[in-house]
């Protein structure tokens, strides 16, 4: 990986993180629910797109550099494991076990499933 691509990856990560903050704020302002939907929506959408990006790259339709910037960079900044884990733990501490299971295992299964769908879609292009 060249230094330039590394820099582009980092900047894309910054943009992805801001995009996450923006989307999170928008969702929270419209959905006043006990369950933290914002992180779920963000992580599921990001996993779908990364699956697709990875599928395209495996099919040699996208360069590894572009995949690094968009995937590892932007989508890596856009999605977050730390916030999802924190929200799950908070739900457990609040005895909201149903929500905690959704935020924990539920989100994981959903993200892996859509990533798999994305991988398949990418291979079909």
């Amino acid at each position: 990986m060249t230094p330039l691509i590394f820099l582009a990856l980092a900047l894309a990560g910054g943009v992805g993180a801001s995009a996450r903050y923006l989307v999170d704020g928008l969702i929270r302002s419209r959905l006043k629910t006990a369950y933290p939907w914002a992180t779920t929506i963000i992580n599921v959408s990001g996993s779908l797109v990364l699956g697709f990006i990875t599928g395209l790259t495996t099919a040699h339709l996208l360069s590894s550099d572009a995949s690094a910037i968009i995937g590892t960079g932007f989508l890596g900044g856009y999605t977050t494991f730390s916030t999802a884990s924190y929200e799950t733990v908070q739900l457990i501490k609040q005895n909201r076990y149903g929500f905690a299971i959704a935020s924990g295992i539920g989100m994981l299964l959903a993200c892996v499933a859509v990533a798999g769908l994305g991988l398949w879609l990418g291979s079909q292009v």
């Binding site: 980092a10 990560g13 903050y21 797109v49 890596g76 900044g77 977050t80």
Partner: protein, 146 residues
């Protein structure tokens, strides 16, 4: 004071972007240093667990600055939403797990996915606990004399 919500104001967005860029760079740097172990992205598991600990610690630690403290808010944006959010990644966790499963490596794929989730949750708990204990020491009469 009323006005634009935080997620549309430039300074919070800039703090998140800065932290996120450094976080993503640190994650990639870690990936370059720590290679996959027979197809399992060990580096990503490590950064996700470390980031989970760090966020738990950070969010608990800043509570000692009091609610509504603007410095606390900025720290959380830069280091939490920004750095930890950029450092950790859910999309890679999901996609790498899906790839392992698609290659028929059900055991390894499941262990990687559920293992990260479980150890990550424990790391978050631990981060919160460590910061909570540090806050308590600072607040106690004995701690204040140190």
């Amino acid at each position: 004071m009323a006005g634009r919500p935080n997620h549309l104001r430039w300074l919070p967005l800039a703090l998140v972007a800065l932290g996120g860029a450094v976080g993503a760079a640190t994650r990639e740097g870690t990936s370059l240093i720590i290679p996959d172990a027979s197809g399992v992205p060990v580096a990503i598991a490590i950064v996700n667990v470390l980031g989970a600990f760090a966020l738990g610690y950070l969010y608990e630690a800043v509570t000692r600055l009091g609610p509504g403290n603007p410095t606390a808010a900025s720290i959380k944006l830069l280091l939490g939403t920004g750095f930890c959010g950029g450092f950790t990644t859910y999309s890679s966790l999901a996609t790498d797990s899906a790839v392992l499963l698609s290659h028929g490596r059900w055991g390894v794929g499941s262990l990687y996915a559920f293992g990260t989730l479980l150890i990550g949750a424990c790391a978050t708990f631990a981060g919160i606990a460590v910061a909570s204990r540090a806050n308590a020491r600072r607040n106690s009469p004995e701690g204040a004399r140190r």
